[in-house]
């Protein structure tokens, strides 16, 4: 609809300044620095055959509820219509391209009207009215050849997974079950299946780095117990705990998990290696970490990512979803939504509020992730032709019982390159 496809000039597009190295163990730094790469990502990944997290179903609980979000750079409106179905469409008027909706979220909305010339849309994104369409007193107005049904913002396909709403601009994206695969689906179900989430808070952390540096960080189980001292000392995430990582067939989705293993609690590997993480650190108020057994499987941590930009987090009883939105080459919005569940007791809810201190912009075990991407972005300045080294755990991008690996980071680049044709 009103869309001109500009073919990419393959011959003239040469990644600057060097081609991508062979294999998965090297990542050229220009991929975090080049405006052309950013533009291609928008087209090939964010508009391409992928599923993008939009919102939680519970945020659109009733017909007439809506919210606005972004799929990459593209503004999107997500609604629940009177047929109780979820819809999403571009937040772009079909007339002259203005935003149709300026609010973040609200209720009881029957239609959307562009402020510029009052072109009107129903909650499914259909153009239903054009102001002064027939002119005034027989003069002016749109020509007879103008048909409203031929104009409208692009609509997204919608998929629902255990209360998560995903959308895609692509007609070619596989069904979500196939896209995620059984292992990832099962791990989402473990956290959200059959439960009604309750939003406890929303915060945006503005990261001073390329979006892919944050994704790498999320998928990097190697750094967790080295950069984050708090995590390690309280045995939330010792690499010697039992656990592992799951990397799906595409490489793009992953799960990193760990579980209590009393046998490994006295492990001395860290002391031997004199890693910074070794210290005596005691809480004045240990109730912070006194959670409740929510999942009955001993798993204290499960970080799950869906390509390209979605994270589902369980850290003890701190449950959250994270949406990553690129804003510029070196600027990224990280949207946190902290969750509880509708059937939480008051004590359980208080536990979640306390454990929220672990995560988010001021999180004991996550605040470093807000700055470390910026350290890379600044560090690689002037080193576009150099490369990152990703050899921890080998050269493959497969599931592993060890978390001392960069397999899921390599997996991201495998999926990224497949999407980008690199």
């Amino acid at each position: 609809m009103n869309e001109i496809v500009v073919p990419r000039d393959e011959a003239s597009w040469i990644p600057w300044p060097t081609a991508w190295p062979e294999g998965l163990t090297r990542v050229p730094y220009w991929v975090f620095q080049d405006q052309r790469v950013y533009a291609d990502e928008q087209r090939l990944i964010f508009q391409g055959p992928n599923w993008h997290y939009l919102a939680l179903e519970v945020e659109l609980a009733e017909p007439g509820d809506f919210l606005t979000t972004q799929v990459g750079d593209t503004p999107v409106i997500v609604t629940r219509d009177t047929d109780n179905e979820i819809y999403a469409f571009e937040n772009r008027c079909a007339h002259r391209g203005a935003l149709i909706c300026l609010k973040n979220r609200a209720k009881h909305r029957k239609d959307f009207s562009c402020v510029y010339h009052a072109w009107n849309y129903d909650p499914q994104g259909n153009l239903t009215g054009v102001a002064l369409k027939d002119g005034i007193k027989g003069k002016g107005g749109m020509p007879d050849s103008f048909k409203m049904e031929q104009h409208g913002p692009r609509k997204l396909r919608i998929a629902l997974v255990h209360g998560l709403i995903f959308g895609s601009f692509s007609e070619d994206v596989p069904p979500i079950e196939e896209y995620l695969g059984e292992e990832i689906m099962t791990r989402i179900e473990r956290v959200l299946g059959g439960r009604t989430p309750a939003v406890l808070g929303r915060f945006t952390q503005v990261l001073p780095n390329n979006w892919k540096l944050y994704i790498e960080n999320v998928k990097d189980s190697y750094h967790a117990s080295i950069l984050h001292l708090f995590f390690t000392t309280f045995e939330l995430n010792r690499l010697s705990q039992k656990g592992g990582i799951i990397v799906d067939e595409s490489g793009g989705h992953h799960v990193s998990y760990s579980a209590i293993d009393p046998e490994a609690a006295k492990d001395v590997d860290y002391a031997k290696q004199q890693i910074r993480s070794e210290s005596e650190y005691k809480l004045a108020d240990p109730t912070l970490l006194q959670g409740f057994d929510e999942y009955h499987d001993g798993v204290t941590l499960q970080i799950l990512s869906v390509f390209p930009t979605f994270v589902l987090q369980q850290i003890q009883n701190a449950i959250a979803v994270r949406q990553i939105v690129p804003r510029a080459i070196d600027k990224t919005d990280l949207n946190w939504t902290y969750l509880g569940f509708a059937d939480d007791t008051p004590e359980q809810r208080l536990t979640r509020l306390k454990q929220a201190n672990l995560v988010g912009p001021a999180g004991y075990i996550s605040m470093e992730d807000g700055c470390v991407g910026g350290f890379v972005q600044r560090g690689i300045s002037g080193a576009s032709s150099n490369r990152a080294v990703l050899e921890m755990g080998g050269a493959e991008a497969t599931s592993s019982e060890s978390r001392v690996t960069e397999a899921s980071v390599r997996g991201f680049w495998k999926a990224y390159r497949a999407n980008m044709g690199l």
């Binding site: 973040n104 939003v199 406890l200 808070g201 929303r202 915060f203 945006t204 952390q205 503005v206 990261l207 001073p208 950069l227 001292l229 708090f230 000392t233 210290s279 650190y281 809480l283 004045a284 108020d285 109730t287 912070l288 919005d333 902290y338 809810r349 208080l350 979640r352 509020l353 306390k354 929220a356 201190n357 988010g360 912009p361 001021a362 004991y364 605040m367 470093e368 807000g370 700055c371 470390v372 910026g374």
Partner: protein, 156 residues
């Protein structure tokens, strides 16, 4: 009486701001009294009644832990704040307990000198008036913006 009240609260708030801006974080938990409550949230969460905070502490021990983590565990670039406070408004009085609202602006100064307006917002405080002093029992920091640049390390 009201004039004195404002004076006591203004003094307590000035002491609080100096404590953080002077990097005397170890003294920060001692500025809270009674059943301590400290929370940082945003105006949209506050308006919508969403409970979670960016920082949430319901004991002075949790404040002490926050300081210990900042000193010994967490990694962040050296930075300092400069708090600029507005005049407190008394919202209500109930015996010795007084609620107030005070606007603030906090500039963040990075180690290379880069200075930015890091946060603006309101303090919703509850004080106990004890003699000629206002003792802080609760502080809810409501930031105007939902966007936090890079990370929030030092308390507001």
């Amino acid at each position: 009486m009201n004039g004195n009240l404002l004076q006591y609260i203004t003094q307590a708030q000035a002491d609080y701001a100096r404590c953080i801006d002077d990097d005397r974080l170890e003294e920060w938990p001692n500025l809270f009294h009674g059943p301590c409550l400290y929370k940082i949230t945003t105006s949209s969460n506050y308006r919508d009644g969403l409970e979670a905070g960016i920082v949430f502490a319901n004991s002075r021990g949790m404040l002490t832990d926050r300081v210990s983590a900042l000193r010994d565990a967490n990694i962040y670039e050296r930075q300092s704040y400069r708090h600029i406070l507005g005049q407190p408004s008394i919202l209500s009085e109930d015996g010795a307990m007084v609620s107030s609202e005070t606007s603030f602006m906090v500039a963040r100064i990075m180690q290379d000198g880069e200075t930015s307006i890091y946060a603006t917002g309101r303090y919703f405080d509850v004080y106990e008036i004890d003699g000629a002093a206002a003792k802080l029992h609760q502080r809810t920091v409501v930031c105007d913006s939902s966007r936090i640049d890079t990370l929030l390390a030092l308390p507001l």
